[in-house]
Amino acid sequence: MLKTLRPWRLASHILKGCAAPARRVSDSFKTFGGEIALAGSEGTPKKFANPFAQSSPAMSDGPAETEEDREKRRKVLQLEADIAHQEGRRVPTLDFFQDHHWDHVLSLPSKSARIKYYAFLWQINMKKEADQRKKAERAEDTERRIAELRKEREENTHIIYGLAHTSMFLRIYDTTINHWQNNRLTRAMQFAPKMVLDCSYDTHMNNREASYAAKQLMLCFAENRLNDEPFDLHYCNAQMEGRCMQSLKRYIPTMLNPEFPMNVHKQCFTELFDKQSLVYLTPHCREDLVTYNPDDIYIVGAMVDTMNNEPLSLAKAKRLGLRMARLPLDRFLQWGSGSGKSLTLNQMINIMLDLKKTGNWDSALKHVPRRKVVDMDSQRRTEDGRKALGTRARKLNVRIDHLLDFEEERRHATAFAAPPQALRQRKEGMEFQLDTWSAGKKKKKREN
């Protein structure tokens, strides 16, 4: 069934093209069925309008809503939420709602979309309340524990050794680690190669995609900071009023502070860096990235494109006249029929970090989730490897089975497909018996 709004609006706009009167505000919020009613009741003698002959996707919703209309609508929706809450439906109390929630609610097209959104907020509210309740319970327990501890310490005249008392271990707080990592980042800003995240795709994503993009941007920053040799990350084209950046600000509130080692720029990367050294990484172009060049500045488009299929990053790179490249995924990986070849932003950053460190694509592409990659090939490769190892070991009369078993077990833990059944079970007669080890002649079993 249709999941995007655009084909709906397209068809409805074409159907409405016959209806001349200027639309009231309430019209633009009618559901699709209502709009058909409007067009259908116009009468058939008009010229037949082809619902598929659309000229261009119309994004605007008719005459702009005035402030007071918006206020009135907001009041009605608040009443709706209030009454639904009073009836016991999945809606949180009115004081849970904040301004940005209402902005989102006002943009939703239909009542069922609103109901789903209220249910989502209700779930968050319930989780929060449950957390608070648990925290209160735990606080009581902690109080009791601390009181006992204090009593014990008073009674005891000796030194108490332990983690919270006298010990040789320094307590390392989270803030210390943060400071240490931030220090690494400031050093990176001076010496390390640069990487750009292009945040100009806000208008091409819907609300959910924008919040996913914000989460991925936050993860980019975090995983970059964690690495031993981080990049100097720059977030360019960041419009702070856009949804993506607003969500990012909620994840990292201190983002714009001058002392926080995050480079957020409103300008485009072409104004900040030299065009010759920029390379746009986009999956839609034809040239593969072969070797990593630390003098180049690589750009990754910060866009979650589940809904949108258009090659926007390619178009942008062409327009700006930049070099383009894509990751050589086809050459090094066997793609399964899984969720397609899209990678998240933090996976991209991890791949580039590993590439910078090792220069080896196989180890860099370990960051692609295994579920997207077909495992058969890797299985076969390891089988061959093991056979060669086995023949060599037999020649040298070295027992390596316990090592291979360990390997196999470890591989089982991460493999998805069931390994093919071995014809002979190698394990028979090869278990290690402590009692009979070096206690007599080895009894050779017939099966082996």
Binding site: L10, T31, A37, K75, V76, L79, E80, A84, Q86
Partner: protein, 525 residues
């Protein structure tokens, strides 16, 4: 011709149809209904009123006992439990209790009280005091807010409809409902019912009915029942109104429920001079067993066919947003191929057919199934076109050679949607071409809009073959298209034939099965 329903029961035995996905989502929040039923039987069954302390204890036990009931919503929950018509006094008692202690009932509680009034109104007329109470509640709610939300409007409509003189106030409320959402089935039904019940508001009632159906809401049985009751009392206008009703049902392909059908039978006995109604069944080839007339064929007119084909052809030419997964070269190649090899007797959706009996089969079995279908048509000397994808070349050679020799074969490359190709080829070949696919084509029907959708559905019913199943021996059972109409319509000799289903469903799906029960109606003018 096999009876499809019987076959399905044999093939997949066991129980009622599995629940649809939508019924698993959003489970009811406030406990399962049997818990609330228990509450109902414990406290409310035989009582007309409870004292203040008892109400207090009921509230308390509800708040303690259920996770999601708290101080805000317990009142509405209690009123939701006493929603039956016999529990009106109990509901009123509770509201009085709330008024006497504390802040009084909130808006949701008052709305639910109006619902209880409405339920009671259907069993007995309401007294003056009760009607005054309803009006007072409506006035207070409307005064408190300028525009009301959809739920409150619905409750108010139900309340006003229960009064005798003030139901006209409900009409602007319906308009107010449209600000936030499409009005619900029950709101529309309540108003339409009331309008039909009044002697001079028939036009208004018909307008509301039309609006309702255009908003894709199925009118409830009670609406038709009220109309039929009125016709029984006013025989003068009966035949005109009945004709209008039947034309309305035909235009919107509505299937009435058994209750309405029984009432129609009764009406036939009450007004024997004006109409004659009998229950009936359909024989083979769409012949009514009562009046021995053949039902109308489902074919669409030339003009309608031209409109439909223009629509699809333009879409495949223009390649709008919905079907962008193809290249212009391929479309051109396909069009040239069709020009060369048209017209066909049947166009087969190869992949759909091959995967009909299960997706996890080996390619040889898939190819064999396809070859069997092609042979089915070859035996009847028909020309067919088979649409598929490039990877089908790798299927079993023997089967694919058979297909290539006995049919025209066109393979596309990695196309997600092969529907436009199928429909283009079928429409291009003219009115006599059928197509073979199990796809219900719901997306297409929806995208075409309210005007073309019934035309498309009729064309689809007339021309769609589908594969029911493959027996153990390898024989296939094919469901042939049904060439007569399946909804309310007038047969050539003037008898109206009305199919009906067992129970009312709020969202009926388009089905291409022949309804089991029919009524044969003849109006004597």
């Amino acid at each position: 011709m096999y009876n499809i329903r019987l076959l399905r029961q044999l093939r997949w035995p066991g129980g009622p149809h599995r629940l649809m996905a939508s019924q698993h989502k959003r489970p009811h929040l406030l406990g399962s209904s049997d818990q609330l039923e228990q509450l109902k039987s414990n406290y409310f069954e035989r009582r007309q009123e409870l004292s203040g302390d008892e109400w207090h204890s009921v509230r308390h036990s509800l708040i303690e006992g259920y996770k999601h009931i708290n101080g805000h919503n317990v009142d509405a929950v209690i009123l939701g439990v006493c929603s039956g018509p016999q529990q009106l006094s109990l509901a009123k008692n509770y509201v009085d209790y709330l008024r006497s202690t504390g802040a009084g009932p909130n808006a949701a509680t008052l709305g639910r009280l109006l619902r209880v009034y409405n339920a009671a109104y259907h069993t007995r007329p309401l007294s003056e005091a009760e009607q005054r109470d309803i009006l007072q509640i409506c006035d207070s709610l409307q005064a408190a807010h300028e525009t009301l939300d959809a739920t409150s409007c619905e409750q108010l409509i139900h309340g006003l409809v229960a009064t005798t003189d003030h139901w006209q106030r409900a009409l602007p409320l319906l308009e107010m409902m449209k600000v936030t959402s499409t009005p619900s089935v029950s709101a529309y039904s309540a108003l339409t019912e009331k309008a039909f019940g009044q002697s001079d508001q028939t036009e208004l009632a018909w307008r509301l009915l039309e609006e309702m159906v255009l908003a894709r809401k199925q009118p409830k049985c009670e609406v038709y029942l009220v109309l039929l009751n009125r016709l029984a009392q006013e025989p003068a206008t009966a035949s005109v109104q009945l004709e209008r009703l039947l034309q309305f049902l035909e235009r919107h392909s509505i299937l009435v429920s058994q209750k309405v059908a029984e009432r129609l039978l009764q009406l036939g006995e009450q007004l024997p001079q004006q109409l004659r109604v009998t229950g009936s069944r359909l024989g083979p080839l769409g012949k009514c067993l009562e009046c021995r007339q053949h039902l109308q064929p489902v074919a669409i007119s030339e003009e309608q066919f031209r409109q439909l084909s223009e629509c699809f052809l333009e879409k495949v030419l223009i390649r709008g947003d919905v079907f962008q997964k193809s290249t212009p070269e391929e479309v051109l190649r396909f069009k040239q191929y069709v020009e060369k090899t048209a017209p066909y007797d049947c166009v087969i959706d190869g992949l759909n057919v091959a995967y009909s009996t299960g997706a996890k089969k080996a390619p040889q079995q898939l190819a064999k199934l396809l070859a069997t279908v092609v042979r089915h048509f070859k035996e009847r000397n028909k020309r067919v076109l088979v649409l598929g994808r490039e990877h089908m070349r790798k299927w079993s050679k023997s089967a694919m050679h058979y297909v290539q020799n006995n049919a025209s074969l066109f393979l596309t490359n990695n196309l997600s949607h092969d529907d436009p190709f199928l429909l283009y080829a079928t429409l291009r070949s003219g009115q006599e071409t059928d197509f073979f696919s199990r796809d219900l084509m719901r997306t297409h029907a929806f995208l075409l809009g309210a005007e073309l959708k019934p035309i498309f559905r009729r064309w689809q019913q007339e021309h769609q073959f589908s594969l029911v199943t493959q027996t153990q021996t390898g024989r296939i059972i094919v469901k042939e298209p049904i060439r007569h109409r399946l909804c309310v319509h007038k047969a050539k000799a003037g008898a109206w034939h009305v199919p009906y289903c067992e129970a009312y469903t709020p969202n009926p799906t388009d089905s291409f099965e022949v309804p089991e029960h029919w009524l044969c109606l003849s109006l004597k003018t």
